[in-house]
């Protein structure tokens, strides 16, 4: 219905209390922001809470937002990264490797193996230094360009490239993947 509006135009209307415009913005960004928070937090419930918080802040402060320096997209990803970083500090590392295999059913064993591998990867990602993790989430999982990620992280493009290389080297080391 409001798909022709730019993000910035929607924000202007949201500042005046237009809830339908707010819904349009939510539809555009909820999966992107949830995905970003989830990859940072590795916890769906916490990621949803963080995403709710981000949208509430947008609703509350739409009139204060000024996009002369950066686009809404850049700004909102930056907010998501910061919100997830804050939430992460509050959450204890809840990952536990699945070690008990209660059944010898082949499908279940395969499923458990898959779960175990996923948890190992999540753990490896969560152990990355914060900036490497942010760069990985934005560029690899969210598919943003290095330039966009650099704007969001207030870093240079070269800096982001370096973070990505180091993140991948760290992950390979942790997961026992051969370089190649």
């Amino acid at each position: 219905m409001y798909s022709s509006y730019t993000d910035e135009q929607l924000i202007q209307k949201i500042a005046l209390g237009h809830k339908l415009m707010f819904k349009e913005l939510v539809a555009r960004y909820k999966n992107k922001l949830f995905g970003t928070c989830y990859r940072m937090l590795q916890n769906a419930e916490a990621a949803e809470d963080a995403t709710q918080e981000i949208f509430i802040k947008i609703w509350q402060n739409a009139a204060k937002l000024d996009f002369n320096r950066a686009s809404f997209s850049t700004w909102v990803y930056r907010v998501a990264i910061n919100a997830a970083t804050d939430a992460k500090r509050k959450i204890k590392d809840e990952f536990e490797l699945v070690t008990d295999i209660a059944s010898d059913d082949a499908d279940q064993i395969e499923q458990l193996h898959q779960q175990q591998q996923e948890q190992q990867i999540k753990q490896a990602i969560s152990k990355l230094p914060a900036n490497q993790q942010k760069a990985l989430v934005l560029c690899f999982y969210q598919g943003l360009s290095n330039k966009q990620a650099a704007e969001i992280l207030k870093n240079s493009v070269k800096g982001v490239e370096s973070l990505l290389v180091r993140a991948k080297l760290n992950l390979k080391k942790q997961l026992g993947v051969q370089n190649g």
């Binding site: 909820k30 949830f34 509430i56 609703w59 591998q117 990867i121 991948k168 390979k172 993947v177 190649g180």
Partner: protein
Amino acid sequence: MDELDKILNNVKQPSISSNFEDRLMQNIADVPQYKKPTNWLSSIFNHNFMRVSTGFASIALIITILGFNDNNDIESLHEEIELYSYAVEEFNLSQTELILEYQDENQEIDEYINLLTNS
């Protein structure tokens, strides 16, 4: 895509809850929005009090420039009263507004207002 990319892609992202939007709309229902203050200058001058004050200040300035006259100089006084009436009309002020606003402010002006209302 190298082996690491394949491994990283194996970690699926769960879907966001289907009631996410409903919860959000409920959550914002009671959240007040920040409202930008309107331009203070224009808001002050749009106010009736300031409109009256500005009008009055202009009238006072005209009278000051012309100088107060001796009460005996009736002709000159009439001219000032005419000028004063013109100013009142120009600034769209009612005499009541002026009287209410300024009757305690300045005795000399009060005398003018009295003269005006009695004329």
